[in-house]
């Protein structure tokens, strides 16, 4: 057995054990959340007895994201964590009731784990951060702030309300949306000019592009502003954009790594840059806390072959949240395990083709 195969087998065993442990936690009368304990009464199987490995999660019906809309939010708090200070983070919400996720410490743990993947050379410990992404009821702001603190720095933030931007775009108010983007970039430029030792940043691709362009117009650059490392995500990150970034927008002195994630999953890391990949971006979920599968469009329980295209199926298993198979609004190609992440990855993520025409992309 090759070294990678050994690592993959070990990761699979760890995932099976993690799955069993989490199902026991979420469906046990003494520790489970009101939501899952009630849900379990509707199943024709007993999760406590019949879910022993990851593949057994297919016994659960697909998780419906509408379950996350509306309250009471407390129904998601596992009894085993009752009394702990809780946060609520939201996604969507431009119109109607947003999806809400209850969080206690997951956002800290996810970003601490992510921190371990960042190269210190480009994300120096003790350096300060710029968080150029959505604020308000979203998890990113607090998560990046924790990441900065975990690495010994302080995170500087801006105000950004993506729901307002979506409204502007849907009304065709392009000029107003551009003005709002300029307002956000103004805040970032001001922070960067204020001698705060900011060397690391989270930025969405569109805001990174806008900031870099602004700095170029001002006769400077991201590199000259002092930023050495950027992790980017939140909107579509294409290989061509990645290449333009590395070759033309940022230059050789700034490290950029793509990430893929959301409030439900946490943060999937990008495979380390390798010229041989020709800028193909491959993401790996933070297993075993979250798992990404690439599944057939017509059978969400069937994983596609390597290199084949399918829809993104997400599983989350932490002490705080249990999601046994949630169909994401994205599609991509299944990728083989990597030594750093010895489990399946996904590349070419893009809006699921059936939704793509109705999705407002490029919000921030």
């Amino acid at each position: 057995m090759s070294q990678l195969a050994e690592l993959a087998a070990k990761a699979k065993a760890q995932l099976d054990a993690h799955t069993y442990e989490n199902v026991q936690w979420h469906f046990h009368e003494s520790t489970g959340s009101p939501f899952w304990l009630e849900k379990a009464t509707t199943y024709n199987f007993d999760p406590l007895k019949e879910v022993k490995c990851f593949d057994d999660l297919k016994k659960f019906p697909h998780f419906e994201d509408d379950w996350l809309r509306g309250g009471p939010i407390s129904r998601w708090i596992p009894k085993g964590l009752a009394g702990k200070p809780a946060y609520v983070f939201e996604t969507g919400g431009t119109t109607g009731i947003p999806k809400s996720r209850m969080v206690i410490e997951d956002h800290w743990i996810d970003y601490e784990n992510f921190s371990d993947t960042l190269p210190d050379e480009y994300f120096p410990r003790g350096a300060n951060w710029l968080m150029l992404g959505p604020s308000g009821p979203r998890r990113l702001r607090l998560a990046v702030e924790h990441l900065a603190q975990y690495r010994g720095g302080i995170s500087f933030c801006v105000d950004l309300d993506p729901r307002w931007v979506v409204k502007l775009l849907k009304k065709g108010k392009i000029k107003e949306a551009e003005d709002y983007k300029e307002h956000v970039i103004d805040q970032a430029v001001t922070i960067l000019s204020a001698n705060h030792n900011i060397q690391c940043a989270f930025m969405t691709p569109k805001l990174l592009e806008a900031l870099a362009m602004r700095l170029l117009d001002d006769g400077t650059s991201i590199a000259e502003s002092g930023i050495k490392g950027i992790f980017a995500g939140g909107t579509e990150f294409t290989p061509q954009w990645y290449r333009t970034c590395r070759e033309e927008l940022l230059g050789p002195d700034v490290y950029i790594t793509p990430t893929y994630g959301n409030t439900l999953m946490g943060l999937a890391c990008g495979k380390p840059f390798d010229p041989a990949d020709n800028y193909k971006i491959t993401y790996y979920a933070p297993q075993p806390r979250a798992v990404i599968e690439t599944v057939e469009f017509k059978d969400y329980n069937q994983v596609v072959g390597y290199g084949q295209t399918g829809r993104v199926k997400l599983y989350t298993m932490t002490k705080e949240l249990f999601i046994p198979g949630f169909m994401e609004r994205d599609e991509g190609e299944r990728e083989k395990p990597h030594e750093k992440y010895p489990w399946d990855g996904i590349s070419g993520t893009r809006p699921f083709h059936e939704y793509a025409k109705t999705t407002t992309v490029g919000v921030y």
Partner: protein, 478 residues
């Protein structure tokens, strides 16, 4: 299969993202078009002054010679296209294959573009009202009458977001090059052929390569062109027009709502103008903004509609390579169906009658496996306020509207080309004063018969140059 890269101010660039382009009818892959990104466009535009500098190094008279040579090459020679090359006939075949426009119309549009390029000296002379080239080159100078004038370029490059519907639109931007303004082009996803071919003809004729960029791509590319070029033109529907209305940086080209108007003094002789009306509706498969979508008269409207229907109703789709083919295919799935449904709904209203149905021998909508056709449609409207009285569709569609002459000018609303058939002096003056008509023809001129020495939807010279004050000596005492 043609592999067509991005052109970044003269440098070819191979993108990692390529869009397959297929034959509209067979689905056969025809080309793959490399896709640019908005970031790429924005980065290049930061150096756009180099394009103008390169053009300013060439005298305008020489640039006009280049245009004339390019016109001949574009029309007659085999020119590079991506990883291959195309003869004029092959060019028409491929342009037809991706746009659905019959090959004979592709050839006609080629001749139109070549005409403008080949007569660039006359076009510039007309549009600049005889301005000496030296004044455009230097930015100021004295005219022959001794008056100092200054023309300042408003932008180093002219941005454009081009459409797919008709290759004839490229005539509009060609004068930019001899005026020493560079080009930043986002071509249509199906009609990218003409910008690339004209560019290759320019290069072969000796134009500096730094002068032109061609960026195929998605909405972010169009957005970058529109926001980062100091002057840009865009083509689109009414929504696009409304979105950019009043923006002095943007020249927006939308539906034309072009019309033929018959005055009360000639309407009883309407049969004399039947050919003019039919051709105004039908030429170029009714795809252009200059095609008439309305015919307005105070009487005889039902007879006029019936006579046009007799001519257009029997027209059927023919293979695109048939020299008699006169109908273009709709290649965007669902587009023809949606228009057909709108027309059917409009025809349900009181006062609207479809006149073509009885001459058509079949439905208006012809669905094929990969494309659709809409057959010519003439509707009669009893007044200007009924549905379909002032509509435009991208196929031979016309509303024949009954309206008193004294209400006509106000009721026709915005009209790109208005051909008025009248000898009534008072009506002619009212037409001349009507600001809702852009191009006015008084007399027997088909709406599609454009004189390229005339401005179109604004004068490109006024758009790309600012006529401002300049003095190098104090004025006479006063």
């Amino acid at each position: 299969m043609f592999d067509i890269p991005i052109l970044r101010f003269g440098q070819t660039y191979e993108s990692m993202e390529k869009q397959p382009v297929v034959h509209f009818d067979t689905g056969e892959p025809v080309a793959q078009l490399h896709q640019a990104t908005g970031a790429m466009v924005k980065l290049d535009l930061k150096k756009s002054q180099k394009a103008r500098d390169a053009l300013r190094a060439v005298p305008i008279a020489k640039l006009i010679d280049i245009c004339k040579a390019a016109a001949r090459m574009y029309l007659e020679e085999t020119l590079p296209c991506g990883n291959g090359s195309l003869s004029p006939a092959e060019f028409c075949r491929l342009q037809s294959a991706t746009t659905g426009l019959p090959e004979n119309m592709c050839a006609a549009n080629m001749r139109k573009n070549a005409f403008v390029l080949g007569h660039m000296d006359e076009v510039l002379d007309a549009l600049t009202r005889g301005l000496p080239y030296e004044i455009l080159e230097k930015g100021y100078g004295k005219e022959s009458r001794g008056v100092m004038v200054s023309y300042q370029a408003t932008t180093p490059v002219f941005g454009m977001v081009l459409p797919n519907n008709s290759p004839g639109v490229h005539t509009l931007w060609l004068p930019a090059i001899p005026m020493q303004i560079g080009l930043c082009i986002k071509p249509g996803s199906q009609e990218f052929w003409t910008p690339y071919r004209i560019t290759e003809a320019f290069f072969k004729a000796g134009l500096p390569r730094e002068a032109i960029s061609v960026y195929p791509g998605g909405h972010d590319v169009g957005g970058a062109v529109m926001t980062d070029c100091q002057r840009a033109m865009i083509f689109g529907g009414q929504t696009t027009v409304d979105q950019h209305a009043g923006n002095p940086k943007i020249s927006v080209h939308g539906p034309g709502f072009s019309k033929v108007i018959l005055g009360d003094d000639v309407v009883d002789r309407w049969e004399d103008y039947l050919d003019l009306m039919v051709d105004s509706v039908f030429a170029n498969s009714g795809r252009s903004c200059i095609n008439a979508s309305g015919i307005w008269a105070s009487r005889h409207t039902r007879e006029i509609a019936d006579a046009i229907s007799q001519r257009l109703g029997p027209v059927v789709p023919l293979p695109p390579n048939d020299p008699k083919s006169s109908l273009a295919a709709f290649t965007t799935p669902g587009a023809a169906e949606a228009m057909n449904a709108q027309i059917d709904e409009g025809c349900q209203a009181d006062g609207v009658t479809e006149m073509t149905a009885k001459y058509r021998n079949g439905p208006r909508l012809e669905k094929r496996e990969r494309c659709d056709y809409l057959r010519p449609t003439v509707v009669h409207c009893t007044g200007p306020d009924v549905p379909l009285a002032n509509t435009e569709y991208m196929f031979p569609f016309v509303s024949v509207v009954e309206c008193p002459q004294n209400k006509m000018i106000a009721q026709i609303k915005q009209t790109l080309v208005g051909t008025a058939l009248t000898d009534d002096a008072k009506f002619k003056q009212q037409l001349l004063d009507a600001t809702n008509i852009d191009r006015l023809n008084i007399g027997p001129v088909k709406t599609v018969q454009l004189n390229w020495l005339q401005p179109h939807e604004g004068n490109i010279v006024d758009f790309l140059f600012r006529n401002r004050a300049f003095q190098d000596t104090p004025p006479a005492a006063h």
